[in-house]
């Protein structure tokens, strides 16, 4: 084996160790609840905790709301930019880059200042309103990924021809968007949706500062008070993230614009 290839294999080995040892360590730690033998007790405790179900349910609901708002916001915008307003593209792309540049904690700080109980739009005034604010915060976080996914999906289809064809058959704009464009970017939207789901489920900062019972703050709370349950929760959380991202890979194979192997 050449020296170069040996180095490559050693690096790969190091990489594999670095990534899998923490996962193995967490898994092993989570099985240690009963002294002396491995058991799934920590998982049982976690799954039977009513707060676990409540917070996961809350985060899942918020994730679905975020995806809905995100799709409604992004798909028409990306469509119009592609079709009629190409000069606005740099502006929109800059806006979608902002959440990647400015940390999430700064955004929440801004929201708390702008929308607190004494402002013109008291979004922190009630629980439902704060949920709405948290949803919009999550949409902000997911915006770069959602926009990029939908934009890529729109570039892969011939938007202009589809629109002209639909119009020549007498379709109104709502019909064009809902029944012609959206089904064709279905895969891109779904991949953006799953990434959004993974982001929202694991998010801690915004939910904690807005004081909402989401999964992130629950995780942190368990970690501060318990020993073995956090490890079990970390494994569960990692499984959810992996499943979401894995689904994106699976879906990605059915996207229009890719050559289909026959």
């Amino acid at each position: 084996m050449t020296r170069g290839r040996l180095i490559s294999w050693l690096l790969l080995l190091f990489g594999v160790l670095y990534f899998f040892v923490p996962l193995l360590g967490t898994l092993e730690f989570s099985l240690r609840y009963l002294r002396g033998r491995y058991s799934l007790t920590a998982y049982q405790i976690v799954l039977n905790d009513p707060r676990f179900l409540a917070t996961i349910g809350y985060s899942t609901t918020l994730a679905l709301a975020t995806i809905a708002v995100g799709v409604v916001l992004v798909v028409p915008t990306a469509y119009w930019i592609q079709l009629r307003l190409p000069r606005l593209r740099p502006v929109v792309e800059f806006i979608t880059l902002l959440p990647l540049v400015i940390p999430a904690i700064v955004f929440v700080f801004g929201y708390l200042r702008l929308y607190n109980s004494s402002s013109f739009l008291p979004l922190t005034g009630s629980e439902r309103a704060t949920d709405l604010l948290l949803t919009c915060s999550y949409v902000t976080l997911a915006l770069p990924y959602m926009y990029r996914a939908v934009d890529t999906g729109l570039r892969a289809i011939d938007v202009r021809t589809l629109t002209e064809a639909a119009q020549s058959l007498g379709a109104a704009w709502s019909t064009i968007l809902l029944r012609v464009i959206l089904p064709n970017v279905r895969v891109a939207v779904l991949s953006g949706a799953f990434l959004t789901f993974a982001i929202v489920i694991g998010e801690f900062t915004m939910a904690s500062l807005l004081n909402r019972p989401a999964f992130g703050p629950y995780l942190q709370n368990i970690g501060a008070n318990r020993a073995y349950e956090p490890a079990a929760l970390a494994i569960i959380s990692f499984a959810i993230t992996w499943a979401s991202i894995g689904l994106i890979q699976v879906l990605g194979r059915g996207a229009p614009g890719q050559t289909v192997a026959r």
């Binding site: 290839r5 923490p22 730690f29 028409p76 915008t77 902002l98 540049v101 940390p103 915060s137 490890a231």
Partner: protein
């Protein structure tokens, strides 16, 4: 010759003529811009302006000066150190891994496997990551116990997960995959012909690296390192779950300030946020500029 009939895209319903052709297209993007104003631009702008105001609303540079008081300055310094350490470490290891997998002569299955895993691992940040490292390298962790059994007591040797280096190591778990993902296209751009041509002309491996690879790759390398730096600088959840308030980084100070005004000065909090935006903005700006430069060679 047949007359070419081209169906124009008709704005429908027809706009009033005084509004002009583009009026209905603009309406389509209004919700996005309203959202962007409400949740992206105005909150950030308010914070930035607030950093320059005092409690009565008058413009002042006092808050910026106050940022240099010992506790806050030291928090910025620690943040910069942790971010720089995890960015440079992540960049070097990530580059080495990516190069090994893409251009290092390994079997073909390695690259897609590495990409997939990097995609997942770069998202595995925050609270669960802190738990994972506590379970592995904490005092009762698996790796600690294993190393103990082989005679190496890392805690006796001075290592502590709940410290600067522990946090840096934990951050590198998502920095390395991020580096791999960003750098893969750049390494792809290194054409094999260049390696063969340089070998043809008698260059050694080291000369190939020094005269060909590094001059081409240093813009994307530096840019990606800056991106990693900004990424680590803005992170709070991992640090909060791992070291809590014991490691005084800027995001933890800001978190405490938002929670309970520990600085006893609202506008100083805004200045803190302003400082953060400045640092992450500059890093990302430099990354984008360097990315533009690197695209010359790596088409």
């Amino acid at each position: 010759m047949a007359e070419a009939t081209r169906l124009p895209i008709a704005p429908s319903p027809a706009a009033p003529s005084w509004l002009g052709q583009l009026s209905w297209a603009w309406v389509g993007v209004v919700p996005f811009f309203v959202f962007a104003l409400m949740f992206l631009i105005v909150p950030t702008a308010l914070l930035m302006v607030g950093g320059f105001q005092d409690a009565q609303g008058h413009l002042t540079l006092r808050n910026l000066a106050d940022l240099f008081q010992p506790t806050i300055l030291s928090s910025y310094v620690i943040s910069i150190k942790v971010s720089a350490a995890s960015a440079i470490g992540g960049a070097l290891i990530g580059f080495a891994l990516a190069y090994a997998a893409i251009a290092g002569g390994l079997p073909a299955f390695v690259r897609p496997a590495l990409m997939t895993f990097s995609g997942v691992a770069s998202n595995f940040a925050g609270v669960p990551l802190a738990f994972a490292f506590l379970a592995t390298l904490g005092r009762a962790g698996l790796a600690t116990a294993l190393l103990n059994r082989w005679g190496i007591d890392i805690y006796r040797g001075g290592f502590n997960l709940l410290s600067f280096w522990g946090l840096t190591l934990t951050y590198m778990y998502f920095q390395i995959p991020l580096m791999v993902l960003i750098l893969a296209p750049a390494i792809d751009g290194l054409k094999r012909e260049w390696r063969e041509a340089s070998a043809n002309l008698g260059a050694s491996g080291w000369e190939y690296w020094r005269y060909i690879v590094l001059p081409i790759l240093w813009p994307p390398l530096l840019g990606a390192t800056l991106l990693l730096f900004a990424n680590a600088f803005g992170a709070v959840a991992t640090a909060y779950a791992l070291t809590g308030s014991s490691l005084n980084i800027v995001t933890i100070v800001l978190y405490a300030q938002i929670r309970g005004d520990v600085l006893h000065n609202q506008n100083l909090g805004y200045a803190l946020a302003l400082g953060m935006i400045l640092i992450t903005g500059l890093s990302n700006g430099a990354y984008i500029w360097l990315r533009g430069r690197s695209e010359r060679w790596l088409r």
